[in-house]
């Protein structure tokens, strides 16, 4: 049996158990998808107190609307959609910016970095703790870029799954991920190599 089919069967089993009144099954759904929800919430919401409320809100919405879930996607993808929309609603309510004019072509930086010498990134990584550098630099990206990068590289979702979660066209998702990685690489090289190393 393929992995996708097995997932779908598990989803069916879990959803029908919850709809038949089994609360432990819902606890299992939470534990299975908590990683994705926390990843997205941490990337989209800066305030730790609000993250707690949003995460709870997401699962209460999932429970309330579970009978409408039609198994057209994986249950985790559907929960990802609800998380994304809940975070988006929060961002709009707080008048925050999801994606400012960020990571557009910057000629000055581009020119500075044209002479990327052999193993620049390796030098940076030898001089600093890579995880700390990356954490700090990813945090500086706009919420949408942070989320897309994490969903692709850390959660290992496909472009199609990310497009389903964010309701963005697949091409736009790819384009944003490319830009986010380029911005990340350039900012790491310009800050840590040229200024501090």
């Amino acid at each position: 049996m393929s992995h996708a089919n097995k997932n779908n069967l598990d989803d069916h089993r879990l959803v029908s158990a919850v709809l038949n009144g089994d609360r432990h099954a819902f606890g299992l759904i939470i534990r299975q998808t908590e990683r994705l929800v926390s990843q997205m919430t941490f990337k989209m919401i800066n305030n730790p107190g609000d993250r707690k409320d949003i995460a709870q809100d997401v699962y209460l919405k999932v429970f309330k609307n579970l009978s409408d879930f039609q198994f057209k996607s994986k249950l985790s993808t559907w929960i990802g959609q609800i998380t994304y929309n809940t975070c988006l609603h929060y961002i709009e309510k707080k008048k925050l910016v999801l994606l400012e004019n960020f990571g557009q072509e910057d000629d000055t930086l581009e020119n500075q970095l044209k002479s990327e010498s052999h193993n620049d990134m390796e030098e940076v990584m030898l001089g600093k703790e890579l995880a700390n550098i990356l954490n700090a630099e990813i945090d500086l990206l706009p919420p949408l870029y942070k989320t897309l990068i994490s969903l692709y590289h850390q959660e290992e979702l496909s472009y199609i799954e990310i497009a389903e979660i964010t309701s963005l066209p697949e091409g736009t998702v790819k384009n944003y991920i490319f830009r986010a990685r380029k911005t990340l690489k350039e900012s790491i090289l310009s800050k840590y190599k040229r200024n501090e190393l």
Partner: protein, 153 residues
């Protein structure tokens, strides 16, 4: 072999999805020190992002949510509106037939049997097509509604 350097996007593709770029582009990267350095930098970056610690909540999310769940199990609402509309439609059709029965009978008597069968077949074909269209439209709308509802959540 391609002599122009590859774009940042192409180099990223080389690292993340090598199957998505051409053999000529791969050959260029392998033979070009500048592009190879960029590719190595991206390789390290991708590996680094993958290794970054995963954020976790510092509270018991499952416990908090389960404590707040409503007592009632979520159930699909019974489609009263659809049922009422269907019932009214059938009632109108039946009432019309009853009301105009004598007129319908006299028209049918006056018509030759061949005309009657052609008209009957025509009506059945048109009705079948309309039913199929309605079903397709209904499915499309339901999908759009579900999508919209998920977006609003």
């Amino acid at each position: 072999m391609i002599t122009a350097h590859l774009s940042e996007n192409e180099i990223q593709l080389y690292v993340a999805e090598p199957q998505a770029i051409s053999k000529e582009q791969i050959a260029h990267i392998q033979g070009c020190a500048s592009c190879r350095t960029k590719a190595t930098n991206y390789e390290l970056l991708f590996k680094g992002i993958g290794d970054v610690l995963h954020p976790t909540f510092d509270f018991d999310l499952s416990g908090l949510v389960l404590a707040q769940l409503p007592v009632a199990v979520p159930k699909k609402a019974f489609p009263w509106a659809t049922l009422l509309i269907s019932f009214l439609s059938v009632a109108i059709i039946v009432a019309s037939i009853c009301l105009f029965w004598t007129a319908i009978q006299s028209v049918m008597k006056m018509m030759p049997s061949i005309m009657l069968s052609i008209a009957g077949t025509g009506v059945i074909v048109i009705l079948a097509f309309q039913c199929m269209e309605m079903l397709k439209e209904h499915q499309k709308r339901m999908q759009a509604l579900l999508f919209q509802k998920t977006l609003q959540l």
